[in-house]
């Protein structure tokens, strides 16, 4: 396997926050095309920080990160172009409240990718159908439920036709009855062959959709294997403890 087959290739990534907390302590990881990688770990283990370094929302202190063949440590238009190819969905949705659902999904296409408005609207409509809220195109985010907002956020990210999708605890802020509808959409996207890195506590999703699960502990990946191997692992006591706690 050559470097070109990797969507994400990180080598020995370190990061310490200004307050002295060591978030990442040597993370090396590769993700190949079409793979769904789920990252699990206790809160404070660095999994969200790591995810956010992949599109450089978080700077790293040392090590290297290459995404889609580009060093993430690039500048200007190279960085924005790379970010446009990496979709990201956040815990708190982060929809643009002053824009309608339709505008939320089309603004990136029109302003960043310079796609004409008609095409952008068609793409948006297809995506809204896919995430099951076709009838809400004219609504504003605050008129939607949390589950609906998160599905719009997924559609917004997919509208950029990304080659990699990052999901940062996207169901943690949802009411329990809405978790399912969001996970269903994510599974659908995974089945279509999208390369995904997912930080989550939803082990059912991990079991069903993940190709590999990485367990993060104190800023390191201490285990990375298929879901089966992770769930039956008896050697890593921290992993065992973590799995028992969330079950």
């Amino acid at each position: 396997m050559t470097d070109k087959d990797y969507v994400v290739k990180t080598v020995d990534v370190h990061k310490t926050y200004p307050n002295g907390i060591k978030a990442l302590n040597g993370v090396s990881l590769n993700v190949i095309y079409g793979e769904v990688l789920v990252i699990i770990g206790a809160s404070g283990s660095g999994k969200s920080t790591f995810l956010r370094t992949l599109n450089r929302l978080e700077e790293i202190d040392s090590g290297s990160i290459e995404v889609l063949g580009t060093d993430i440590n690039c500048k200007g238009s190279k960085l924005t172009k790379l970010r446009a190819e990496i979709g990201m969905v956040f815990q708190h949705f982060n929809l643009f409240p002053h824009l309608s659902v339709m505008e939320n999904i089309t603004i990136g296409q029109i302003k960043v990718k310079k796609i004409d408005k008609q095409t952008a609207i068609e793409t948006a409509n297809d995506l809204l159908k896919k995430v099951g809220i076709y009838d809400k195109a004219a609504a504003y985010p605050e008129q939607l439920s949390g589950g609906q907002q998160q599905r719009v956020a997924i559609a917004r990210a997919l509208a950029m036709k990304p080659k990699l999708m990052l999901f940062d605890e996207v169901t943690s802020a949802l009411d329990p009855e809405m978790v399912g509808e969001v996970l269903d959409v994510m599974e659908k996207v995974a089945k279509e062959g999208m390369t995904m890195v997912v930080v989550t506590h939803e082990m059912d999703f991990a079991k069903k959709a993940a190709d590999r699960i990485a367990f993060m502990d104190k800023g390191r990946i201490t285990e990375i294997a298929t879901p089966e191997e992770i769930l039956t692992n008896e050697n890593n006591s921290h992993l065992r403890q973590f799995l028992n706690k969330i079950h």
């Binding site: 599109n55 929302l57 200007g76 238009s77 924005t80 172009k81 790379l82 970010r83 446009a84 190819e85 990496i86 979709g87 990201m88 956040f90 708190h92 982060n94 929809l95 643009f96 409240p97 002053h98 603004i107 990136g108 302003k111 960043v112 990718k113 504003y140 605050e142 008129q143 956020a153 917004r156 990210a157 950029m160």
Partner: protein
Amino acid sequence: MNRYTKTGWNLAYVAVVIGIGYFIFISSSKVNYIWRWKAIPSYIVYKSHDAVNSPFNGFVEGYKNGKLIVKSLNGKIKRFKIEKPEVKKGDVVDQGDELGYNISSKAGPLLVGLYTTLKISVIAIFFAIIIGIITGLMRISKNPLLKNLAVTYIELIRGTPLLVQIFIFYFFIGTVFNLDRAVSGIGALAVFEGAYIAEIVRAGIQSIGKGQTEAALSIGMNYFQLMRYIIMPQAIKRTMPAMAGQFISLIKDSSLVSVISITDLTKAGREIVTSTFSPFEIWFTVAAMYLALTYSLSFLTQILERRMAKSDR
């Protein structure tokens, strides 16, 4: 509080206002002052008599349908639109003689002053917004050069009186760069209010959650697009009340430019006082005119705010 007590307090309010008014009336009637309210309207709008003079030597042929017909010595006939003729048929007129006059309404010095105040304020607001947005963005920049420049500017401006700044602008900067007094005045106002608007802009931008920036960056927006399409539209809506307050301040602060001989509303008032010795009436009128200006502005922004609030429900 039930409805009746509320009505009671409202009546008490009216009574207090009337009481204060009566007190002012009584105390002012004790000073030896002759009120001349009648003269005041003419300083706002007055009837002007515009004389019409004969361009040549000739005879008056007659006056018909508001037009005076004059025949020149070489037989040329000319009609003049005159409301009040002062010559009659058969009169001989020489070149330059007054044939009569027209009456027209002209803006008095107070209205002209109000217009100057409005003009100065609008231009100053325009530049203050530009200065404010740029320095507001610099203020939150991570680049120490930009940030320190912005902080220095804001601290210098907010730490010194506007009156002193106007003098510096007029006597120092105005002399060095050979600026017109109006440019100096508007410049001083824009630079002064810009510092306050910068702080409002900064607060507005910082009040928008970090998640908005992250979401915009994650779909590949650059800094300009992030500000233009995501942050600013939200920040502007949030800072509308503070901005409106600042604009109202600017209109009031603009009265200080009268010290460098710009004939704004305040200077016009002062000039009339020196010629009429009616300071009470003039200053009350000037105050009322400022109030009309600031009140219309706050009324306008209220409508705008309501409309903006509707747009996102």
